[in-house]
Symmetry: C2
Subunit: 416 residues, 2 copies
């Protein structure tokens, strides 16, 4: 087993020593990877099976085994994702702005460049291995993948497929590396390797992300945790509100942009909540509400304080009744995680108040929370959803994986 | 003495509870601060004198006392800086981009917002107190200032002047706060207050910055350290090269964009170095060179390995002779701090190679290193020069003190 330090050092050296690859060669390699993933499906599935069997023997639950499992269809999906990345515009080298400073004659250009070596820390989803590697590769970054030990054979197979394509194009495989050491303690070593890594991105559960943020000395981007709310205003179209809430809660309950709490204005709660509850309960959703909600729909379970702060990530939904827009905003401020917050209303001024007051990566008006997503934003792909203020916020596409440098030119200019 | 936690909590609450101030009121307050600084000059100087006397008693060296010292003229300079900030465009609320996603009809806007509460950590330069506070205020951020204990009375006086103006405009003074606790241990507490601070920016010497980067759990921006090089290519105009090197080295040797090493192509070194050395030595510069340089100009002192990595920050300049452009680039890669790197050449292709190969916040062609500066870039002001890849790189002006949020709108849109 290679050490974390030696692997990261090799990647940093590869990044430093490899001249910028042309867009053409990067796209050829990406398309080659997509083809190779399909061709190598039997190999990938047989390696994946080892992980699945080990997971089953270790008693992993059904949901975890499902996340871990690759199928021919899922591999087609992963390959299609790589083709999409190949088709996206290459941000590297883009002139972001250019100007001349009058007083001195200094000519300036701001040019997009890669960030450098990116450390990805993620859980047992083998698709992230290919997603993250190809997004980093397209943006001229090198990547060190620290996947879950439970997906190690799958990840190794996927990286091997990518390496073969890179080598066939005479590009060093060290631009994409998978850590051999997937121990828990290894994460702490990894996120402190400032001499090799420019950035670490944790993707996964809240505890993983919190641990990385607290431990890392390498700059990091906080992703993911989403305690998302929809506020049904007294001026909402109640009929149209129900499908949005159903979509936000049940389309994919386990993801960060799923709805966790619905907040309802008291003026319309008496009409709205029974219809909403009926629809949701018929779809298997468990409701947990405050006293006012339970007074309207007695089948709602009582919510405890912790429920307001919890990302259920399953078919549970908290219900809160408020007497004003301000109270809804205050509740979101107190319990939200600044991921996605939505108001349903027909009143443009009240929508505007919500949009200005509520601080979140994405604030929505009359839309499902599920739209906070790189694909839905039209970015083509995303490496994660940032919930911090620095560098990038919300869905992170290709430009969010870049930095820039200034180029100063002059005719032998000295500063006055 | 208020605790660090209680002061930061108060600032965070003020930030959370204060609706966004209009550009007009922000500018009125900034202009009011500029006027008040001038009016209160006697008060500020008398408080500053306490710090100076304490510093002298403690045996601070002349350079440190100079940095600490305010004069009527310096206060005019600080006030002028605030007027410039007042005159700059307000980035907050700017629509950075807007688009509609065809497949869903989702309408998106990307809007500039403040970052939040910014912690500034700096050394004994009282002007930074006003610079940082007014830049943060203009961009809608709140700021916690952690100045040096040796400038405490000066900083307190300056903050008091700012507070009086804010209060006269009914704006809470908690948006700008100076920490009472300026102990060394206090820094470690400060940079871990993730619940109150969104960002910390250390400004000062390399050891302070390194300590903050290593200790902080709050996101931080690394500023400042600049081991800057000028490479005199074999195709440079040698006559014009000398004034650039003189400007870069001696205009202000103590700052981060000052020149520390000149690298000279061996083909022109025999002609160029004697003339350069003569000019620099006549201006009091001490040269430290490699063997090749000393073979050409015997008065040059021998350089030791550490000299190549050192920011002298005084009138010392290292001299290195290379046999190729690639060797110059490799030397910069090895010893540079990715701040500012310059090539002097008449050959556009060689300039282009240098610009593409050298990784630094600012890469220059035929200009002095001293141009890497918010003012020289036309930003009007700067809060520091970032040497990291994330969020901002190079001189940080107003836009670099902002984040953004997405606003999603639709006609009761659900995700397919």
């Amino acid at each position: 087993m290679r050490s974390i330090e030696s692997q990261c050092q090799a990647v940093r050296e590869a990044f430093d020593d490899t001249p910028a690859l042309s867009t053409k060669i990067k796209n050829q390699i990406l398309l080659g990877i997509a083809d190779a993933l399909i061709e190598c499906t039997p190999f990938i599935l047989s390696e994946n099976l080892k992980d699945i069997q080990r997971g089953q023997a270790a008693g992993l639950d059904v949901a975890m085994i499902d996340r871990l499992t690759l199928t021919a269809e899922r591999i087609i999906g992963i390959a299609d994702g790589v083709r999409i990345v190949a088709g996206l515009e290459d941000p590297i080298g883009e002139e972001m702005s250019a100007w001349t400073v009058e007083k001195s004659g200094l000519s300036l250009q701001k040019i997009r460049v890669p960030i450098g070596v990116i450390g990805m820390i993620y859980e047992a989803r083998p698709n992230v291995t290919v997603d993250a590697a190809t997004l980093c590769f397209k943006t001229g970054n090198a990547v060190v993948l620290r996947g879950s030990s439970s997906a190690f054979e799958s990840n190794r197979a996927l990286v091997e497929v990518m390496h073969d394509v890179m080598q066939a194009h005479d590009v060093t495989r060290d631009l994409i590396q998978l850590l051999d050491n997937t121990s828990r303690e290894g994460v702490d070593t990894f996120v402190k390797l400032n001499q090799y890594l420019h950035l670490v991105i944790p993707r996964g559960g809240a505890s993983l992300i919190k641990h990385v943020i607290q431990t890392a000395t390498v700059p990091s981007i906080e992703t993911g945790a989403g305690n998302c709310h929809i506020y049904v205003d007294r001026e909402a179209n109640l009929k149209k509100a129900i499908p949005i809430i159903v979509n936000a809660k049940i389309q994919r309950p386990s993801v960060c942009n799923a709805l966790e709490t619905v907040i309802i204005h008291e003026k319309i709660a008496g009409d709205f909540l029974p219809a909403l509850a009926k629809e949701l309960e018929s779809k298997g959703v468990t409701l947990k509400g405050d006293d006012a909600a339970r007074a309207i729909v007695p089948t709602i379970f009582p919510a405890v304080e912790d429920d307001w702060a919890l990302e259920f990530l399953n078919l549970t939904l908290a219900v809160k009744i408020v007497s004003s827009l301000g109270e809804a905003e205050a509740h979101i401020h107190r319990y939200g995680t600044k991921h996605t917050e939505v108001i349903l209303t027909e009143d443009a001024r009240r929508a505007d108040h919500f949009v200005k007051t509520v601080d979140a990566a994405a604030v929505g008006v009359n839309v499902s929370t599920r739209f906070t997503d790189g694909g839905e934003f039209g970015f083509g792909a995303e490496i994660g959803i940032s919930t911090q203020m620095l560098h990038a916020r919300g869905p992170m596409g290709l430009p969010e994986l870049t930095s820039y440098k200034y180029i100063m030119k002059g005719d032998y200019l000295v500063r006055k």
